[in-house]
């Protein structure tokens, strides 16, 4: 009885599907979209934090912080990162306090109650360049510069994508179809999903940021790498802990599994199971 009804219901579903298939049969030729043709996959970027043995290159992270502070922070917030967090980049307490104090964070005028700013304390978070999203859009041709705290985890391609994007601005190719050309306020960048992005090239010339002695030259490529490495850290400050605990747990479990396997074989010794 159940099988009889089962077969009926089954035939119902199958018919609905065959109907759908027939309905959609006149296939259009596969569109070869211009975006697919011109879009490029991210270039590879090797960072010290890559892989199962990754470690942060703190010197590079400090340079990246510098690039963020001097270039990116004009438009992009970093609101999940606190000033005290940058101690992990190798700064001591005094340097953290000085860095924080050099930033202005939102506060209230104690006398009038009006919105004001005050020098930052280590417990404060990186301030946003704009008071809210509406102001951010108004200042950027209706585009909203995303917060960068998690950007390397929030984009397919991660840090290599960010690096490729920053260094990927190109002249518009001659054979690019009209509808894919950048409109006003947009810039051609083949690494971006639809080829044209609202952000103007932020890193344009060597020496835009001055690195201290003992650092590589601040070429556009180097600055892009450094800020990408920094953004990997902002997205995952606990990366090194994670890998260390992972190896510890794995080592423990390998021994544990061997012990349990031997125990299992001992207990079953002589007992045919298959």
């Amino acid at each position: 009885m159940v099988r009889f009804f089962g077969i009926i219901v089954g035939l119902g579903f199958v018919s609905a599907l065959i109907f759908s298939i027939i309905g959609s049969l006149p296939f259009e030729a596969a569109e070869h979209s211009a975006v697919e043709e011109f879009h490029q996959e991210p270039r590879s970027l090797a960072l010290a934090s890559d892989g199962a043995f990754g470690k942060f290159d703190r010197q590079q992270l400090q340079r990246g912080l510098q690039v963020y502070s001097e270039v990116c922070s004009a438009c992009h917030s970093l609101r999940l990162v606190s000033f005290r967090d940058i101690a992990a980049l190798g700064y001591n307490e005094g340097q953290v306090k000085a860095f924080a104090a050099a930033q202005e964070v939102p506060s209230i005028d104690p006398d009038t109650g009006e919105p004001a700013t005050r020098p930052g304390l280590p417990k404060d978070y990186f301030p946003s360049p704009y008071p809210n999203d509406v102001a951010a859009r108004a200042a950027n041709n209706n585009a909203l510069p995303p917060d960068l705290s998690l950007i390397t985890k929030a984009r397919e391609g991660g840090a290599p994508y960010i690096y490729s994007l920053l260094t990927g601005y190109r002249k518009v190719p001659a054979n690019l179809p009209e509808e894919n050309r950048p409109g006003t306020g947009l810039h051609y960048n083949p690494y971006f999903a639809n080829l044209n992005l609202a952000m103007a090239p932020p890193l344009t010339s060597e020496g835009q940021v001055t690195y201290g002695p003992g650092n590589p030259k601040p070429t556009v490529d180097q600055m892009a790498k450094d800020v990408s490495a920094f953004l990997v850290w902002t997205a995952e400050p606990k990366l090194e802990n994670r890998l260390a605990v992972g190896w510890g747990a794995l080592g423990f479990l390998l021994i544990f599994t061997v012990l349990t396997y031997l125990s299992y074989r001992q207990i079953w010794a002589g007992k045919k199971e298959h």
């Binding site: 159940v2 089954g10 035939l11 109907f19 759908s20 994670r242 794995l250 599994t257 396997y261 079953w268």
Partner: protein, 439 residues
């Protein structure tokens, strides 16, 4: 347990005797997972997955409870509270990644457990109730996982909730009011988030309760085994402790190695980057996909593109998606074959593997960018899925010629025939020569 040769519980100390006389928990445990529970001696590693599912649930509950100490279920701060856990809470990053990957591992383990049931006929009499309770557990898991994924309030959280609750509006007349009742609003927002958090905390304990019923129902007839031949005598079985506690311990080690590798070295591999973007109701992601364990059902949903028989395509999709799980409830009655294990059902075994491939392809299609070819493939694969359970298996169970079965488990084990009970066909330890029967 109802085998007559099962060991009787004898308290080993005055303390356990005192407890047992007042609350027979020691003898319950002894009879359920101790030396007092006889289990077929020929179980293969596919029988480890039930206990691993229990371990996965325990991991989820423990990590979930500690995460709930720091999570804030309010749409304005939920995303930030999760980042607070990742950055500031002591070991918070570890708890979060374990909970996130634990959900995936729970589904991996349960899917293997279910497919073991399909292959070896564990759903057949007298274990129908075990199977039915199992499908109930699966549905509860899906609800729990769906609501859990909404909690971080990322882009996929929000839009996944939008899509899934949108299913209800496909139901004619009452659909939209039901949707608004479930959401507490017109779109996923604070009301929905708060109730999802409450239910997400609750359902795992409901799952735990159903699992107790599931194990209880199993322990009435006892476990199935790779031959599908019922236990007939003492030589067919071994006591659960220490034989299967040891084997489960080893299985646990292997499971934990896989889990640690994912949770610590590839924690975001099974996730979607868009969920690291805070939810924005005004911006739809380019590519809304559910978590991987829902992908085959998502493909089935999207496969129906034509309005057919007064039911529009969207409603067909929803009916089919839920239907694809509901037909599992009827499996013990759809499949009437007197032979349990696919080991002795060569035709059924072939279709079983086709089903596996079909489900894997559906999974891939669930996340594929839609094109004419992917839609056609989804339609064919969905048709096969329903045909398999509703047409093929019922007919096959009537007309199939099965292979001769061993008379007992003991016979199968000693004559080495059980080498082939391993579903891949050839035992790793004994590729060519079965053990000769002992004189």
């Amino acid at each position: 347990m109802s085998f007559p040769w099962a060991e009787e519980y004898k308290p080993k100390s005055g303390f356990t005797q005192w407890i047992d006389e007042r609350l027979p928990l020691p003898r319950l445990v002894y009879g359920a997972i101790g030396a007092g529970y006889p289990v077929p001696r020929n179980l293969n590693y596919f029988w480890n997955f039930g206990v691993l599912a229990g371990v996965a649930l325990t991991i989820q509950i423990v990590t979930g409870i500690v995460l709930a100490m720091h999570y804030a279920a309010n749409a304005g701060i939920a995303f930030d509270s999760v980042e607070h856990i990742m950055r500031d809470v002591n070991s918070g990053w570890m708890l979060r990644y374990m909970h996130m990957n634990g959900a995936s591992f729970f589904f991996i383990v349960v899917y293997i457990h279910m497919f073991r049931g399909l292959y070896y006929g564990s759903y057949k009499a007298p274990r129908e109730m075990v199977w039915l309770l199992g499908v109930v557990i699966f549905l509860l898991m899906m609800a729990t996982a769906f609501m859990g994924y909404v909690l971080p309030w990322g882009q996929m959280s929000f839009w996944g909730a939008q899509v899934i609750t949108g299913f209800f509006s496909a139901i004619p007349i009452v659909g939209e009011p039901i949707r608004q009742l479930l959401l507490g609003g017109f779109a996923p927002d604070n009301a929905a988030l708060n109730r999802f958090f409450s239910l997400h905390y609750l359902l795992p304990f409901v799952i735990a309760g159903v699992i107790i019923l599931h194990i209880w129902a199993l322990h009435i007839p006892g476990s199935n085994n790779p031959t599908g031949v019922e236990v007939k005598s003492e030589s067919d079985t071994v006591p659960f402790h220490p034989y299967y506690t040891a084997k489960d311990g080893f299985g646990l080690g292997v499971f934990l190695i896989a889990f640690v590798i994912m949770a610590f070295f590839l924690p975001n591999f099974m996730g979607h980057p868009d969920n690291y973007i805070p939810a924005n109701p005004l911006s739809t992601p380019a590519h809304i996909v559910p978590e991987w364990y829902f992908l085959p059902f998502y493909a089935i949903l999207k496969a129906f593109t034509g309005n057919f028989l007064w039911i529009d395509a969207k409603l067909w999709g929803v009916i089919a998606m839920f239907g694809s799980i509901l037909i599992l409830f009827f499996l013990p009655w759809l499949d009437n074959s007197p032979v349990r294990s696919a080991k002795y059902r060569p035709t059924y075994r072939m279709f079983f593997w086709v089903l596996i491939v079909d489900v894997l392809i559906l999974g891939w299609l669930g996340q594929a960018h839609p094109s004419n070819w992917t839609i056609l493939a989804s339609q064919i694969c969905t048709a096969y899925y329903f045909a398999h359970f509703l047409i093929i298996v019922p007919i096959l169970s009537r007309i199939e010629t099965t292979l001769p079965m061993p008379n007992s488990i003991t016979e199968a084990v000693l004559s080495g025939e059980a080498d082939e009970a391993h579903p891949v066909g050839v035992s790793a330890t004994n590729p060519a020569h079965p053990e000769p029967a002992k004189a």
